[in-house]
Structures are given as structure tokens and as C-alpha cells.
């Protein structure tokens, strides 16, 4: 009988890099992604010719793994461009861990790149939603606004609660030299920002930036030889329960309940063990929903959990320590950057916002319109 928990700790991230975050005029998405891969390889002390497994997803490539492999000049033994939205990269980590453990590949790269900010805004190869498009939802924001509206109704949350998420993210960003938006931000600023789709205003929404990111994974026995401090994949799981927001079973509970439960089960740790929590905050409501669904607080308590600086610098739980998609970087699909912040914290390589003794770091991805959820748990050697 096979057991998914046998994958625990079998693979590690041995290299990580970002490239061109913020604004990169004159660069294409593929070029940015290629440079992120080179950066991650340099971090790992490996060469292009060492890569034999490649995973990539973007909003603008129909066949991203092939485009990237050709660009890098490599012929992988295995590749996948599986796309479940912004959480694709967490699911790629699970894929890569399986492929590494099975001996299908020896060195896996997972990559993302986008030039959406300088190319004129978010574009996607995604198809229109067949029974929704006629009503002109401005997705993704309309879908998240509907979820926020429902959450406020069911649990008595206010726009001030949502604003607390943006304020905490900005406070972290102000401590991160790499973050895009670092000016001070108050709850009043968030409430006064231009309304876009009630109840979400402009500052309830993620940034629109350029940027690329990549990580390199190997089997853990080989990771010991890497240049960078290995960070081990202790748990990973994914789930999805709809594509269109109208088909989401409940707008206030995501299937992060399921992905989180299984990822924690594989890792043998629980929410209370996590030293940092990185979650995909495309909109302020996300952070509240995922903290609840991943088990950091009860359903309906998230609105209070994020308030009074609890998830901000100096608070009880460090959440989105890079500043998140709200204030650090958000080039269309943010999942890679969520994981890289978890990995950097576990490596002790997060200048300005390093959490002391960050041994166990959760990185949770969200894709589509609260559609796909993928949870990864990363740890240092001592957590194995």
C-alpha cells in the first residue's frame, strides 16, 4: 500500500530567484522567466544542462513548458504546463517531488514570468466563462467582490476588517527592500480609495507588476551538495471545486480546507507549528478566508484574527512577510513568489523582515476565482 506521506522530505528546493520584479520595460515574459531560471541555477550552483524536468505556467503562453525549454536550450525528460491558475506552482512542486522520487527526473525547475505591467495590464489566454460572460463580470475582481459581500453578510465583517489586511501587508512591504509599494498606508486610505467592485476598492486589490521567479528542486540526498541551504518539501496537496464563481459550493469556504488538511497531514505538523505563513492575497478577502480554511482560526473569526496588527510585523503570526501580492509583487499569477518568500524565510535569507528561527513555513496558493487551492509546507533540515 502506497502512502502519499512517503513523499515527505524526499525533495528539496536548492535554488530560488526572482527577476525583473516591479517594472521591466523592454522585456518579454519569456525573457524574464529565462533570467529567473538562470538566477535560480546560479543560486543552486547548477547549470542549464543539469535540468531534466521543467514545469511552467503563465497567463500568456499556450504551451509554456515547451516555450521555456526551447528558450533555455534544453531537452527535458519530463515537462508540464499544467495550469490551475495562480496556485499552479504549488501543484508543480507536488508533481516535481513525485517525478524526482520516481527517478523520472533528477533536477526540476519550476518557473513563471510576466511583463503585464509594462505590456499594458493583465491579459490571459483564458476563455470567457460560458454562462457568465454576458453579465460582464470584471474577473477576477467581480468574483472576489461577490465572495467578500457574502462573507460580510454571514459573519458581520466590515470594509475596515478587509482594510486591516492591506495595512498589514503594506507594513511588511515597508520592511522589504524588494517590495514595490512601500509608502505608509492606513485603514482610512484603503476605505477612501476608488471603489471598483463593491465592497472592494482599489487598495483591496493586488498590485499589477512585472516579474519572474523560479525554483530548482532535487532529491534530498543530492540537495546536501547544493550551494544554497536546502529547504525541504514536507507537505504538498491541491484541490479544486469549481471553475466559475457561480459554481462555487459556498463563497465563504474554499477547498483550502482540503488542501491544507492533506498538506499538514503529509508534513506531520499543524497550523500552530508554522513560523511564517505566506498566502496568495490577490484581494484582501483572500487572507481572511485562507487563514480560516487552513486552520489558523475558526470560520468567521478571520476578520478579527487579521485585526489590531496581529498579522503585521511584531504581531502574533507573521503573514505575507514580503508584503504579499497586495504590496510586494503581483505579475498576474503570484504563486511562485508566495513559495519563494517561504523558502527565503526558511533559509534565513529575508533581509529587513527575517523572522527569527523560521524553521517551518507554509506557502499557500490560490487560482482562478477561489477555484484551485494548493498548500505547501517547507522546512529546514532540523524539521525533517
Amino acid at each position: 500500500m502506497s502512502d502519499v506521506s512517503l513523499l515527505r522530505g524526499k525533495a528539496a528546493c536548492v535554488g530560488a530567484a526572482t527577476f525583473g520584479c516591479g517594472e521591466s520595460p523592454g522585456w518579454t515574459a519569456t525573457e524574464l522567466m529565462g533570467e529567473a531560471v538562470r538566477g535560480a541555477l546560479a543560486d543552486a550552483g547548477l547549470n542549464l544542462s543539469d535540468i531534466d524536468g521543467i514545469w511552467a505556467a503563465t497567463a500568456v503562453h499556450a504551451m509554456p513548458a515547451m516555450s521555456l525549454a526551447e528558450y533555455l536550450g534544453i531537452q527535458p525528460k519530463y515537462s508540464s504546463g499544467s495550469n490551475i491558475g495562480g496556485s499552479s506552482f504549488m501543484s508543480h512542486v507536488l508533481d516535481a517531488a513525485m517525478a524526482l522520487d520516481a527517478g523520472v527526473v533528477d533536477v526540476a525547475v519550476i518557473a513563471y514570468g510576466s511583463n503585464q505591467r509594462t505590456a499594458g495590464g493583465f491579459r490571459s489566454v483564458s476563455e470567457p466563462m460560458p454562462f457568465e460572460a454576458q453579465y460582464e463580470p470584471r474577473n477576477p475582481i467581480t468574483a472576489y467582490a461577490l465572495a467578500a459581500n457574502r462573507y460580510m453578510h454571514e459573519f458581520g465583517a466590515t470594509r475596515e476588517h478587509l482594510a486591516e489586511v492591506a495595512v498589514a501587508a503594506r507594513a511588511w512591504a515597508s520592511e522589504n527592500p524588494e517590495a514595490f509599494a512601500r509608502d505608509p498606508l492606513t485603514v482610512d486610505d484603503v476605505l477612501a480609495a476608488r471603489m471598483i467592485s463593491d465592497p472592494l476598492g482599489k487598495l483591496d486589490c493586488c498590485l499589477v507588476t512585472d516579474g519572474a521567479a523560479a525554483i530548482i528542486m532535487t532529491r534530498s540526498d543530492r540537495a546536501r551538495d547544493a550551494m544554497a541551504k536546502p529547504v525541504y518539501m514536507l507537505g504538498a496537496a491541491m484541490a479544486h471545486d469549481h471553475r466559475m464563481i457561480s459554481q462555487m459550493p459556498s463563497l465563504t469556504t474554499t477547498c483550502a480546507v482540503d488542501s491544507g488538511w492533506r498538506a499538514f497531514g503529509m508534513a506531520g505538523y499543524g497550523p500552530g507549528d508554522m513560523n511564517t505563513v505566506q498566502i496568495y492575497d490577490a484581494f484582501t478577502i483572500n487572507t481572511i478566508l485562507f487563514l480560516e480554511d487552513l486552520g489558523f482560526c475558526e470560520k468567521g473569526e478571520g476578520k478579527d484574527f487579521v485585526s489590531d496588527g496581529r498579522i503585521a510585523p511584531g504581531g502574533a503570526l507573521p503573514v505575507n512577510t514580503n508584503g504579499g501580492g497586495l504590496s510586494c509583487v503581483h505579475p498576474g499569477m503570484y504563486g511562485m513568489f508566495v513559495m519563494i518568500e517561504a523558502i527565503r524565510q526558511a533559509r534565513g535569507d529575508a533581509p529587513g523582515r527575517q523572522i527569527e528561527n523560521a524553521q517551518l513555513c507554509l506557502a499557500h496558493g490560490n487560482g482562478g476565482v477561489l477555484s484551485s487551492q494548493a498548500t505547501t509546507i517547507w522546512g529546514t533540515k532540523d524539521t525533517l
Binding site: 454562462f131 453579465y135 453578510h153 471603489m195 467592485s197 463593491d198 457561480s246
Partner: protein, 122 residues
């Protein structure tokens, strides 16, 4: 023979809002498919929707007057069970509220027939 989506749109073009119902289980299906999602019964028949619904979630998409003005997007729980995205009209887009009872009508929206909803008389 057409697929269920085109049949549904043909009904809509005739001013009829139709749902599918499984003869054996009584389960209603929307959006249309050749089978009941998740369980697979393929004994679906077309039935007229009651036109009764309740607002499950709502938002006002802000848009400048020159581009057509702010408009409502809502999720409506149909009396028959399924949920659909739609628009509540005849009321300020940001006055639509969760739990409002609404009634369906088929009217043109941006050049094609659509299911729109109005606040129901109590």
C-alpha cells in the same frame, strides 16, 4: 442534434427560461449538460423554470457613465436549487442585497437574450 447549451439558448431566444431536471432523481441541473454533474444520470428533461430566486451575493461594478454606468452582477439561488450568475435590474446596482427575493424575466442584454431579475413583489 444540438448540444444542451445551444438548446438552452434557443429556448432563451423564444423568451423561455428553461432548466433541466432528472426524471429519476428530480435533481435540477444548471448550467445545461447531457448528464447530472457528479452522479451521471442522463435522463434529463427540459422544464420551465419557476422564475423565483433569492440573491446569494451581489456586487456593483463601477463604470463611468460614458461607458454605460455602474451595473449589478449577482449570484441568484434558483427556487429549484441551482445557482446562476445574473443581473438584478430596475433598482440601483448597489441597492441589491443578499436575501432579496427576485423574479426572472428574459430580455435583451448587449444584443442577446438573457435571464435578468427584478425585485419580486411581496
Amino acid at each position: 442534434m444540438k448540444g444542451p447549451e445551444e438548446i438552452w439558448r434557443d429556448h432563451l431566444a423564444e423568451g423561455r427560461f428553461m432548466l433541466q431536471r432528472s426524471v429519476s432523481t428530480g435533481a435540477y441541473v444548471f448550467y445545461p449538460r447531457p448528464f447530472v454533474p457528479g452522479s451521471g444520470e442522463d435522463d434529463l428533461e427540459w422544464v420551465e423554470a419557476s422564475g423565483e430566486g433569492v440573491v446569494y451575493a451581489t456586487t456593483a461594478n463601477r463604470r463611468s457613465p460614458e461607458k454605460g454606468g455602474t451595473f449589478n452582477v449577482a449570484l441568484i439561488d434558483l427556487a429549484e436549487g441551482p445557482r446562476m450568475m445574473a443581473r438584478v435590474v430596475g433598482i440601483d446596482p448597489d441597492s441589491v442585497a443578499i436575501s432579496m427575493k427576485v423574479r426572472a424575466k428574459v430580455e435583451d442584454l448587449n444584443g442577446a437574450p438573457a435571464v435578468l431579475w427584478e425585485v419580486a413583489d411581496e
